[in-house]
């Protein structure tokens, strides 16, 4: 890695401490003129949130406009990804720090998509946008002038970390984590008579999936819980193991990216896939098995 890792003592406990940085560390890099030429990306649920004020020098990557294919339900291809990153001054060797709203859901989602393309040095800002602002650090509405760089066209490699519906069907009976809220898991939260719905035709969960809401991995301030706390949840309580073949899902794959990040980078599980079709696919699919009720 071209840029030093943040050797904060909380992070050194994690399996991959090089994947997270503190607000202090980032502020330090920026205050010293950004010697590692890192690129900071804000990625939010709300496409305008960046424009209301962001970390100085940060650029925006929007999950709808920049990461999703505009026509088919899929991620962008290698050409488009190269364009999105190159326009933002990101080269293949650039250290990228991503942060965002909602305890870094969309930041984790973006990081996961970057990983589909094999971008090596991509890290999350622990605590995300909310922590940076809560600490009274500088934000600006000024959009940095970008010098485009060449980012190579790299084809996505989905198989190691992405599950499709057929993969999940073949995975039934093996460890699966449903990271949605308990109401979505049980199937109670779905029906709203007379209102337009963008949700699913059926409520419930994939049979056998355990309910572990994503937020359990986050502290009050949106930072990740310590390794010991995470192990208590995922290993001790849920009985998952680092070499288990695990699929995580939510509604469209954003919250489960957060859990994917926790299991993969903080706990060092080496075989976790995110099912981005998630409940908006499964709950609308014809003939797939569905289980309702709490477990």
């Amino acid at each position: 890695m071209s840029v030093d890792i943040d050797d904060n003592s909380k992070f050194t406990e994690y399996a991959h401490p090089e994947r997270v940085v503190t607000t202090d560390w980032l502020a330090g890099q920026l205050a010293t003129g950004n010697p590692g030429r890192i690129v900071v990306i804000e990625s939010d649920e709300d496409v305008l949130l960046y424009d209301t004020g962001h970390i100085p020098g940060a650029v925006k990557v929007d999950w709808h406009l920049d990461l999703n294919d505009p026509v088919r339900r899929d991620y962008v291809n290698g050409e488009r990804f190269a364009q999105v990153l190159g326009e933002r001054g990101i080269g293949r060797d650039t250290t990228v720090i991503i942060y965002g709203d909602k305890s870094n859901w969309w930041a984790a989602y973006a990081l996961w998509v970057f990983t589909l393309f094999g971008h090596e040095d991509v890290r999350l800002l622990d605590g995300g946008r909310a922590k940076w602002i809560a600490e009274g650090r500088e934000i600006t509405r000024e959009v940095p002038a970008q010098t485009g760089v060449a980012y190579p066209v790299v084809q996505r490699n989905d198989a190691p970390i992405r599950a499709f519906k057929d993969d999940v069907l073949a995975h039934l009976g093996q460890p699966m984590v449903d990271v949605r809220s308990p109401g979505e898991y049980s199937g109670e939260l779905l029906h709203m008579p007379d209102y337009p719905q963008e949700g699913a035709m059926r409520g419930g969960h994939v049979p056998g999936a355990r309910s572990v809401p994503w937020a359990r991995a986050a502290a009050e301030d949106g930072t990740f819980r310590s390794r010991a706390e995470l192990e208590a949840i995922y290993l001790t309580e849920q009985g998952l193991g680092p070499s288990d073949d695990i699929v995580a899902y939510c509604r469209i794959g954003e919250r489960s990216s957060h859990t994917w990040f926790v299991l993969t980078h903080l706990l060092g599980f080496d075989n976790v896939r995110n099912y981005d079709g998630s409940w908006t696919e499964w709950g609308n699919a014809v003939g797939v098995p569905v289980e309702v009720g709490a477990r």
């Binding site: 424009d51 709203d101 709203m192 209102y195 963008e198």
Partner: protein, 158 residues
């Protein structure tokens, strides 16, 4: 909007906003949307702390609450001419949702019941925002409009 082969026009106030957006690049449309977000009026005091008086629009990515008031509703004929007042609440962390609310507030607040009910349901797609924010996000604005019209129908039925 085409209903059969008839295109339903926007009321003048909304049409003028649509023209403002149409004159801009996708990037500048976002900035104009941010202006609408910044300028969304605060809830009046009588609604503050009274979540039960507001309707939650679940289709928005972030929570949005709205209230609709109809003035001088007396008798079916006069009702069409009664004035509609709209109130919105959305947190600063949801500027897109606030921007949508701001467009509807500026475009619809103060119109008559008849005028608001005649607004075509596809009005949110006429601001050129699909490219700027993605078509999926516009569903939140579609839902706001349909809930506003639904509330007006309920108020008008009193």
């Amino acid at each position: 909007m085409t209903q059969g082969d008839v295109t339903v026009d926007l009321p003048e106030s909304l049409e003028s906003i649509a023209q403002d957006f149409a004159a801009l690049s996708a990037r500048d449309r976002l900035i104009l949307l941010l202006d609408f977000s910044d300028e969304l009026p605060e809830l009046p005091e009588r609604y503050q702390g009274h979540a039960e008086l507001l309707e939650r629009v679940d289709e928005c990515q972030s929570p949005l609450f709205l209230a609709v008031e109809v003035d001088g509703a007396q008798g079916a004929a006069a009702l069409q001419d009664a004035t509609v007042h709209l109130f919105f609440q959305a947190p600063p962390e949801a500027p897109t949702t606030r921007g949508f609310a701001g467009i509807l507030h500026e475009g619809l607040n103060g119109l008559t019941v008849g005028e608001v009910l005649a607004v075509p349901d596809d009005a949110p797609y006429r601001f050129g925002l699909g490219d700027a924010v993605s078509p999926l996000r516009l569903r939140g604005m579609v839902a706001m409009l349909s809930r506003i019209k639904r509330q007006i129908r309920i108020r008008s039925a009193d």
